[in-house]
């Protein structure tokens, strides 16, 4: 069990995170927040790249900083900006990282082709990464994070650069891996986590706002989400009157999805809230950018 025990992180007078308390058992956790909310700070503390200013992070009761290499042995990490050596091939790069992870050469040579196949890079495993696309590099990053069969897998914006097919494959892979490890996935893309995460963690105002299963999160807005169509000319009036969370064009009309504590019009029926509704309600429409 991994516990983030009342952790704060300050950079001088700047507060990056304040009094964060979390507990992780095996399963997938989606860390959902807009850019700049403190996701990466939390991720970096979880992988010992930076240290908490206050509080501590414990794995099975021991401070992860004191555990040192014993903790890192259990870690798989994909940073937001995955760095690589352009003149290396994926196979060579993974072999190098295997050595740093303390994996024997023999074991690594068996495992690397399997992992590269898993992420769909088996055909280019001996090609230099110089000409790889962003999505291919990201897949090398995912493969390296899985090298040591980690008990704690931390992925910071893992789907950046992946196309829809690759995203779907990645989500399937995570679901397969989740039964005997902790997977923490940070993202600002709701669809990345909505179908796979056991729990969603939302950060707001530098601290944890919610840590709940998706169903419970959606219940927070139960009976308060409405959808209706309006003419283009009425759109501006509508926006001023209601807290719209999303809008789209359909058949020459505007379809508004909005939050209201009371039923604004008896002809308008409430709809089932989605995770995206919760996200947009909490962070505002700008958060999707």
């Amino acid at each position: 069990m991994l516990i983030v025990d009342h952790v704060s992180k300050y950079y001088g007078n700047f507060i990056a995170l304040e009094n964060v308390h979390l507990q992780f058992d095996n399963g997938i956790y989606g860390l959902l927040a807009p850019n700049g909310a403190g996701k990466t700070t939390l991720m970096k503390m979880l992988v010992t790249l930076i240290f908490p200013t206050k509080g501590e992070i414990r794995y099975n009761g021991e401070n992860i900083i004191h555990l040192g290499s014993k903790y890192r042995e259990l870690l798989g990490y994909l940073p937001q900006q995955f760095g690589y050596y352009k003149h290396y091939t994926p196979a060579k790069y993974l072999l190098y990282l295997s050595a740093l992870k303390g994996i024997s050469k023999h074991e690594a040579k068996e495992k690397i082709p399997e992992l590269l196949k898993l992420v769909g890079l088996e055909d280019v495993m001996h090609k230099k990464m110089r000409k790889f696309s962003g999505g291919m590099i990201q897949r090398v990053g995912i493969a390296q994070a899985l090298l040591n069969d980690p008990k704690i897998l931390i992925l910071d914006e893992p789907t950046a650069g992946l196309d829809p097919t690759e995203r779907a494959r990645f989500r399937k892979l995570l679901t397969q891996l989740a039964n005997n490890r902790i997977i923490i996935l940070s993202t600002h893309i709701v669809s990345d986590v909505e179908s796979i995460a056991n729990e969603i963690i939302m950060i707001k105002d530098k601290t944890i706002l919610y840590k709940k299963p998706i169903r419970e999160l959606c219940q927070l807005l139960s009976g308060r989400i409405y959808e209706t169509a309006a003419d283009f000319q009425d759109a501006e009036i509508f926006r001023k009157r209601f807290a719209t969370i999303s809008e789209k064009q359909e058949n020459g009309q505007m379809i508004f999805r909005f939050v209201s504590d009371e039923q604004p019009n008896e002809n308008w029926k409430s709809v089932e809230p989605t995770l995206e509704d919760v996200f947009l309600h909490v962070y505002g429409e700008g958060a999707l950018a």
């Binding site: 240290f51 990282l97 740093l100």
Partner: protein
């Protein structure tokens, strides 16, 4: 049936604590020593991965030695080196090879694109850095030995004494360098130490060459051995800190 009312002596708090410590100690895996850990790390990571930049290192060393040789040979035409001057030179410049390789290594580390991933591996950048610095110090000691051997053939200096002087100087500097690395989180601190070392020695020898050289030469052998050993001890102690500290502000 008779009830045994005999008192059972209850252990004191101190005894309880001692017994708990014994049980824990027996149950826990024995922590490997610093040297065992270094050896295991080297075995698991391998020479090729520890010294991935071997070509660059070799080039840096050859360049440094070449600059030195040029300096000594070119000045020899205008300045007659006495044995005493050579001892001064050895004490002052013995840490140069070490400094150049280590400094070069830290510059390269900072430019590594995969720094974050490598920092979260079982053997992270700091542990590799500690191992490399240890190897660099051994290499620098041997390289200095070869240079001193060459100097001994050119000038009438006493090789064992000159080598001892060089080892003491190298490890004194290396210990100070690691201290700066760990506790002074600025880039300039590292360069300032090196410049100060050279400048202070040159200044002292220039201001009062006789006293400086007399000090270097009159200190008994065993004092140099003690200084060298103490500096080595401090150096290794500082290296160990690289293993326990996983992120040291300003080191990289």
């Amino acid at each position: 049936m008779a009830i045994d009312n005999e008192k059972i002596p209850f252990p004191s708090d101190k005894e309880i604590k001692q017994e708990i410590q014994k049980i824990i100690a027996k149950g826990m895996n024995k922590k490997p020593s610093f040297w065992q850990y270094m050896f295991t790390m080297y075995r698991e990571v391998g020479f090729r991965n520890v010294f991935r930049d071997l070509t660059e290192i070799a080039f840096t060393i050859v360049l440094t030695i070449a600059v030195f040789a040029m300096f000594v040979l070119s000045t020899a035409e205008y300045f007659s080196w006495t044995a005493l001057d050579v001892y001064t030179f050895i004490f002052c410049f013995s840490p140069v090879i070490y400094f150049v390789i280590v400094f070069f290594f830290f510059i390269c580390q900072k430019q590594k694109p995969a720094f974050e991933v490598e920092m979260t591996c079982k053997y992270n950048v700091y542990q590799l850095a500690a191992f490399r610095m240890f190897m660099f110090s051994i290499f620098a000691m041997l390289a200095n030995g070869v240079i001193i051997f060459w100097l001994a053939t050119e000038f009438s200096i006493h090789f064992p004494f000159a080598f001892l002087l060089s080892v003491a100087s190298l490890f004194l500097f290396a210990a100070a360098f690691l201290y700066v690395l760990l506790y002074v989180p600025t880039k300039s601190g590292k360069i300032a130490l090196f410049i100060s070392w050279i400048a202070a020695n040159l200044f002292l020898s220039y201001m009062n060459s006789y006293v400086y050289q007399a000090f270097l030469l009159n200190v008994p052998y065993f004092i140099y051995i003690i200084i060298g050993m103490a500096a080595m001890y401090i150096y290794v102690h500082q290296l160990k800190l690289f293993f326990v500290k996983t992120n040291i502000k300003g080191v990289l």
